[in-house]
């Protein structure tokens, strides 16, 4: 006789495995006093140029390193190596996002105590990375003026999951008739209260404000750890 189907309660987070690894990474980062920033954006927004500039400028006064996720090539790591900061490529193959376990294995052999900032550049994608915690302190979403002001409305989930938005390539704003106000309002609509910075990695405009923002967050982290 076929038994009656019945329902049993489970209540399990599907991404639990990733979350567990992310939590242990976060604990390690905290213990080492390293501030971890993950970068998300669409392909071609200028993530690598932005990161190269960030590493080059931050290296003057801080110990910095980066992990870069890419589907197939190691071009990004080679470009970032110009900053002379330690850089490691995570080639994801066909996977469209980074997961905490990939970050964990990429960090093998690295002494986190020797770092002030660690940057994790995600695969260029505004959809999939939103679901995966990487143990970062700050998720930075980057949009370039050439992408248009409505990116936040098209990808509300990732903007909502971010902690700070950076509008880049502002040196091209006039050429593409970019409206700062519209972009700012759209970001605030999907993530009220999120800080928004604007800069150009090419000309350096706005970079100092951004570096000050990061420095303040590192101080906050270390003060919180000291309490």
């Amino acid at each position: 006789m076929r038994p009656e189907p019945r329902l049993i309660e489970v209540r399990k987070n599907v991404l639990k495995q990733n979350d567990v690894v992310a939590r242990s990474l976060r604990d390690r980062f905290r213990a080492a006093g390293v501030f971890v920033v993950s970068l998300v954006s669409s392909p071609g927004s200028g993530k690598t140029a932005f990161l190269e500039k960030t590493l080059t400028l931050l290296r003057r006064n801080n110990r910095v390193a980066a992990l870069v996720g890419d589907l197939a090539t190691e071009n990004d790591a080679q470009r970032l190596a110009r900053s002379e900061a330690p850089v490691k490529q995570i080639t994801t193959g066909t996977l469209c996002h980074l997961e905490a376990a990939m970050v964990q294995s990429a960090l093998e052999g690295w002494d986190l105590n020797q770092l002030d900032f660690l940057f994790i550049e995600n695969v260029g994608n505004l959809v999939c990375p939103s679901s995966y915690d990487l143990g970062e302190d700050l998720r930075l979403v980057l949009i370039s003026v050439t992408e248009g002001e409505d990116k936040p409305l098209k990808y509300p989930t990732i903007f909502n999951s971010a902690d700070v938005a950076v509008v880049t390539k502002v040196d091209l704003a006039a050429a593409v008739e970019f409206s700062w106000k519209t972009a700012y309002d759209n970001i605030q609509a999907v993530r009220p209260g999120m800080p928004v910075l604007k800069l150009s990695a090419k000309t350096g405009e706005g970079m100092e404000d951004y570096l000050r923002f990061l420095a303040a967050r590192l101080i906050d982290l270390r003060q919180a750890a000291a309490v």
């Binding site: 049993i8 599907v14 996002h97 999939c128 939103s130 679901s131 993530r191």
Partner: protein
């Protein structure tokens, strides 16, 4: 397109439960938040693929979509969001960043058949 890896995680999770409880699963019930970053239709077709040649083959994935609910500090209450493109209280218009629900990606229940009776 990360729905396939999500579907594989769901199958894995359900398989473990089935083994542990010594039951056969007819259906997996999932709560899917509007801010989970996962698309329902893509997930459903990926589930079929992911469950193939596993004990879950032929089982159903039952998805309950969960809308975003925010907490409005002005109204002092929870309100469902009318659009994920506008995080404002639908009653008073106050911008609201505090999310009460809508990020769920959770297996909540399994529809099962007992395979072997528990010895009493």
């Amino acid at each position: 397109m990360h729905e396939l890896s999500i579907a594989m995680s769901i199958v894995e999770l359900a398989e473990e439960e089935a083994e542990r409880r010594r039951v056969q699963i007819d259906a997996v019930h999932l709560k899917l938040g509007a801010l989970s970053g996962v698309v329902k239709d893509a997930l459903l077709s990926c589930y079929e693929m992911a469950s193939e040649n596993t004990p879950l083959q032929g089982s159903r994935l039952v998805v309950e979509e969960v809308p975003v609910v925010i907490f409005c500090a002005t109204c002092r209450g929870q309100r469902p969001l009318s659009s994920v493109q506008l995080f404002c209280c639908p009653e008073c218009g106050t911008p609201c960043a505090e999310i009460v629900q809508g990020r769920e990606l959770e297996v909540v229940a399994l529809e099962i058949q007992e395979c072997a009776p528990n010895p009493v």
